[in-house]
Symmetry: C2
Subunit: 339 residues, 2 copies
Amino acid sequence: MTQMMKALTQLHDGYSNTQTGPNIDDLTPFVALRDVPVPTPGDGQALIKVHLAAVNPSDIHFIKGEYGQPRVQGMPAGFEAVGEVIAGDTPLIEQRVSFFASASGAWAEYAMTDAARLVPCRPDLAEVDAAGQLVNPLTAIAMFDLVKESGAESFVLNAAGSQLGKLLIALGRDQGIAPIAVVRRPAQADMLRDLGAVEVIVTGDDDPVSKARSIFKARKPRILLDAVGDQVTADLFFAMPSHAVWVNYGKLATEAPKLTQLGQMIFQNKRIEGFWLTRWMQKVDPARIPAAFAEIQERFVSGKWSTDVAGIVPLSDAMIQLPRVLAQRDGKAFIDPRL
Amino acid sequence: MTQMMKALTQLHDGYSNTQTGPNIDDLTPFVALRDVPVPTPGDGQALIKVHLAAVNPSDIHFIKGEYGQPRVQGMPAGFEAVGEVIAGDTPLIEQRVSFFASASGAWAEYAMTDAARLVPCRPDLAEVDAAGQLVNPLTAIAMFDLVKESGAESFVLNAAGSQLGKLLIALGRDQGIAPIAVVRRPAQADMLRDLGAVEVIVTGDDDPVSKARSIFKARKPRILLDAVGDQVTADLFFAMPSHAVWVNYGKLATEAPKLTQLGQMIFQNKRIEGFWLTRWMQKVDPARIPAAFAEIQERFVSGKWSTDVAGIVPLSDAMIQLPRVLAQRDGKAFIDPRL
């Protein structure tokens, strides 16, 4: 007899060809709470009982059909979580692991993934830190490698008040590369300065680009880590010094930025590129990944990083509660299938 | 007593902060025909009696203050030419050389440059080929290295009917990497096909991007060599397959293209960058440069490349005649100081 489980399953296949950003008011067009069979692990796979699943912007892009991989109708959604391995082709049975749910999604009582990709968790790592230790922390570590390779003494990041933004600021603070934070709301400025941002540019202020230009002139950043993709981002990029690289990793804005100073690509050796964690993991030296997770867990346990929790919602009521928690701009949302 | 010479000298210093493209109707706001002292070569410099100077889009950008280096009021304009070395710190005295006029411009009876950068010419190399063998041919060779490194079996280039475009098409034809040519005017299509373009996309046609998409799907180009920088270029880039690189090296259009599919930078690993010959020469393996000139001269002499001449104007009458010759869209303009 097939064992059944609750899961938020996808209602659509493939891509939507829309670009509506990572906000969501209503989950009902995209996922539904269903009873589905618990997946059966095959060769090289592991089945995990989910303790706590993270909700990231990439999850919302994904269920809306706006992410870099196609949806599969009927499959549980949810990319990352922490849980206990209960079956599969792995010596980690009964251990607590963080994981990226590649075979069956994490917004469910049980999830399935490649056994080789399980990340064992230190016992002193908190559940909320463990649930979200892949997507944001690994992205922060990977993109900060670009910052270090740039050789500059500062870097620029926007959406700086996001969970990922705060991780990046703390990395800059601890590794001596000055974070120049870009935010929309002045209310966040003090918090980001306290965290380690040496400068805060508020895009809602009058003429933020002129202010940015004088900051950039003094601090000479080379990398712009961009989760927004709007015209202000393009203007900041063109205000940066020679050799600047605009690294886009998210799209909070729905507008299409204009390249008003294309000649800078030629004469100032500027470049625009993207960062995707999935591709980074495919091409990075495999030894870098366990080293990164050791660093990530150490940073959380020692308090160098922390997870701001906006709310934890029960899986059974996530259709209703999740949009409300996501509407809070500060902090991260989680789904607990055991509640 | 100082020897004097005729020269087209610059009327302005620095940059103009305009972006008006490489077209010009009237030279009088930017340069004037003047009698100026023949420059005196210092250590490591050579003085050249100019035989024939080329007129490139970069020259026009430069005199208008829109190029990557500042103007110097009173200095002769003109980047490249062929001539005879008549004095200086070089064993090449009395030899015919092509050169980039780094110390005193080439739109003059005499020009001055770094002696180390002189390019001796084969006796069988025609004067028009010799006058223009640096900027366009070396750019073509250097950018074609990017095409080869891409590993793709085709590449895309716009402004394909330009002198540089034709050099690139011939390189693709001879080295087995299929050129996909983008032009504005249907009249050029047959000529480009005869030259070696396997496909011609005419941007004035209905829905050129859909046509391009099906061509790109079949031929999988990775490099877009762009001298235009308009919205059609951006649309073509976003119609290209994963891993496409938009290499901008010129700005014929004055519009600012919009990045309508920024997410492709993330999920499809696309990239936007610039190419500038000046930077390439600074960082390339120095042995690559004489090898490139041997290849360039061989290609011209053997007929694999040819120079289309729109007209040769006397230096003494260039203020009047040059804009008329430049207005002819096909072929290259030259200035002869001996006429």
